[in-house]
């Protein structure tokens, strides 16, 4: 177990022994008795896509719609997202199906814009140590979902969260999404031991993104179910109405049918988690 570092204090369990709950809607809070599923495409592509995905994920029990409008891409020549029109499509689709919205923020200068359309602001793994962004999010009014960097220790991850709390925003959700290892059969190696460790050290809720860890939709369901049993408070899953045409991460997106299978299998094991799973 990592020793408790003086690098952080506000994120520690001792600071808030009752645990942080982040209100999602009337029935659900992340970190509460209900398991929260967030699902949607990697990238917002068009209205029809968003409508179909939103309907599908709602039907599968999700309460939050994900989708990227500003995409951090390894290459400058890859599709960088639709920007503001993408945010509008995402919001409209979510509202139509009574879903909340989580979307990625990539610059300290985007806070006002993103807050206008999203309920949760996502920081991607590449920006986990973009401290100017974290400081700006400390002044945001919406919850922040902070992905773990692909080579971040738990100390570094909690220290990054501490930046946001120290800035005044106590609504932080941690997201394990796989670490980079020598193993190449999956895109990343999902580090599920991080869940019980972080939940012991910290009062913050922890969700898992099995899609980026897997890199292949054959692996998403087993990893998602494993994450549920390892103690995650929620999931962030990529779902696309037609993965073969997806603008990015086509291989790891679940089809609506596969997502329904996942949610059905999650309900089968709800009894073993002590939680409500829709």
């Amino acid at each position: 177990m990592p020793t408790i570092s003086s690098d952080y204090k506000l994120v520690l369990t001792a600071h808030k022994p009752a645990g942080t709950q982040i209100k999602i809607n009337r029935e659900e809070s992340l970190g509460g008795p209900t398991f929260v599923t967030m699902a949607g495409p990697c990238t917002v592509e068009d209205e029809k896509q968003m409508d179909e995905v939103a309907r599908a994920v709602k039907r599968g029990g999700a309460s939050v719609l994900r989708g990227g409008a500003f995409k951090p891409r390894s290459s400058p020549y890859s599709f960088q997202g639709l920007g503001k029109p993408g945010l509008q499509m995402l919001r409209a689709a979510a509202d139509r199906y009574d879903l909340r919205v989580v979307t990625e923020i990539v610059s300290e200068n985007q806070i006002d814009l993103i807050e206008r359309y999203a309920d949760i602001l996502q920081v991607g793994a590449r920006n986990m140590q973009n401290y100017e962004l974290l400081k700006a999010l400390g002044r945001a009014t919406k919850p922040v979902l902070l992905k773990r960097g692909i080579a971040a220790t738990i100390d570094e991850w909690l220290s990054a969260a501490e930046y946001i709390l120290a800035g005044g925003n106590e609504q932080v959700i941690l997201c394990e999404r796989g670490i980079r290892t020598f193993a190449t059969h999956s895109r990343f190696t999902l580090d599920l031991a991080a869940i019980p460790i972080v939940k012991k050290l910290s009062h913050l809720p922890v969700v898992v993104d099995p899609s980026h860890a897997a890199g292949n939709n054959n692996l998403v369901i087993p990893l998602a179910l494993a994450a549920v049993m390892a103690g995650a408070d929620g999931l962030l899953v990529e779902v696309h109405d037609n993965p073969s045409t997806a603008y990015c991460d086509a291989e790891q997106a679940l089809t609506p049918m596969q997502f329904l299978e996942l949610s059905s299998r999650m309900r089968d094991i709800a009894c073993g988690t002590g939680r409500v799973i829709y």
Copy 2:
């Protein structure tokens, strides 16, 4: 997904599409409809310890008793195991509770000795590429449990199994036990994506050792449950009647009470696995 390598062929699904089942007892086969639990201490210490642990793991639904009599230890000054008297104690305790025996083999010269006392011969992670040992095990008459090396790719792991099959012994069980990564909050990082991948590529059954991956008994139950949901055919878990006095790996052993909690929680999710879990 790894491309299928010409380094192996007998281990491939195409070679035995129905899958390999390894008979454990009248009701259970590894790779069959029943989930198989193997449990016991890291090291055989004395008769009383073995009796207490055997009774406890039997009560928790285990069908195989584990325990080491020949221990590969990082230091020459660490306890190296009781040797043959340890094998005798292990066998006697297992027989008393109608359990099968799995124990580690560390030399190509020990096959006759170990086969006399054990039902399954375990190859540890350090010896996964000790090819002289693998060749000798190809001529053994008992099943072999082959742990994945801490830095082995799936190709290397299946190639190691191929040595045993190519030698004439088709009774091989693969065991994922964690890989070495930069992460230090657990002893190793359990690579659960390896389970669906190996089960797709190969007809061999796959079990998971959450104890060595965890290195800490607080993490064993979440990782074990995660492994069940990721599709493992069985578990190999360390249980000690009094972990604080254990000769080795004291921190990662479950107490009998914790093992009962684990088995109870496994039964709660059996419905979600399509398997019988005792």
Copy 3:
């Protein structure tokens, strides 16, 4: 060898077969016949420190003074740098000894400020995939030193550089500073194979930071000499006049005496490199 990816093209050797040279002063260009040494403290602390370090590194043959005024720190409670007054001290000390200045930029909003004081803008490992920063640097007029992320592949590193070139700034220096591995005896593992590989793939100059890789000043000289022989075009080394009082990274800074020893040993092997080493 990595296959050439379509993620980048402007950084490729084929785009500029003669190689990129980045003018440092009248005699020296990074990527040219002279080996370039950049040295200085982790953090700018005060005028006296900067004067002593600048004098020492000049005497040891350095032509660029390094020093941080904006520090990305893992914890919000660690010293974050002196900011603008730090930049002023750094510039003044450098000018006094006819040195150029390299310093870190941590926000897309700082370009004007940093360009006013520095000759080279450094992007730290944590920000290698902060694409908004990279895009802004594509519009900068000064050269950029781009450190490799601690878990970045060579493809990802070159793609990050491509963002800057695609934005219009062709003056990019790549800096290898160690990757995160399971090895804990050094802070990171210096990946020297990256040097010949990147120099073959790309026309950009490559320097090495042995200080962050080492994490311990006993290791800095051997790693620095190794980097010279692996083909680096220059070094970025931490030097502090009194490491025991340094605000950060105290353990890895060389003393002025150790820096003189390093530069003397580098000159001894200059004959083996085909370069001039001052």
Copy 4:
């Protein structure tokens, strides 16, 4: 720096402050004032090959001929070596050019056989924790070259050496050959910081194998030169008279011409190492 572990004591500097020197021939000892080069093919193939390689490496200043007769191969279907006839060819070629012989041992049952033909017994990375082999080597009369496992910490490596010393054989040479990391542009990542660390902790000589680390002959010379400057006592390099026809590791073998280039470049930097390099 790793703390000194009670897992080992005989390997520690304090046990033999003057350092261990392993006599190679009249002029050279590993760990002494002369840098020792060991070179030769991955595998002994035939008499003509061995003669040509032996002549070439002698001309390039090598004093030890390497070549495998028993090859640990990932797949049972790969060429496993010529066995005893290979040892005979290796010995004959070495004797013709007054070279010593290093070759791999893969089983505790081979000690007598290998000792008859070799001057140094090599333990490969895969067998670094094959403790039965290490114990048997503790009773051998010839020096042992112990490669570091691809995921071994320095503590584990020194503990493995301790097995040999504790068994009575104090003639151990450590060999760094690269560790497995996420980086795929080289076969392994050469960990050169291990050299100064091990040389500080232990009295044993340390050599470097740049060929297995590189996996590609373009990288071998830069890595070899880097290893010299990082403080290695010697090198173990793959050389083949016609790499394109090599039975194994064809891509990483140097041609005789490349080996001459390497030895010439090593002599150019001898002045910077304080050693004689032939």
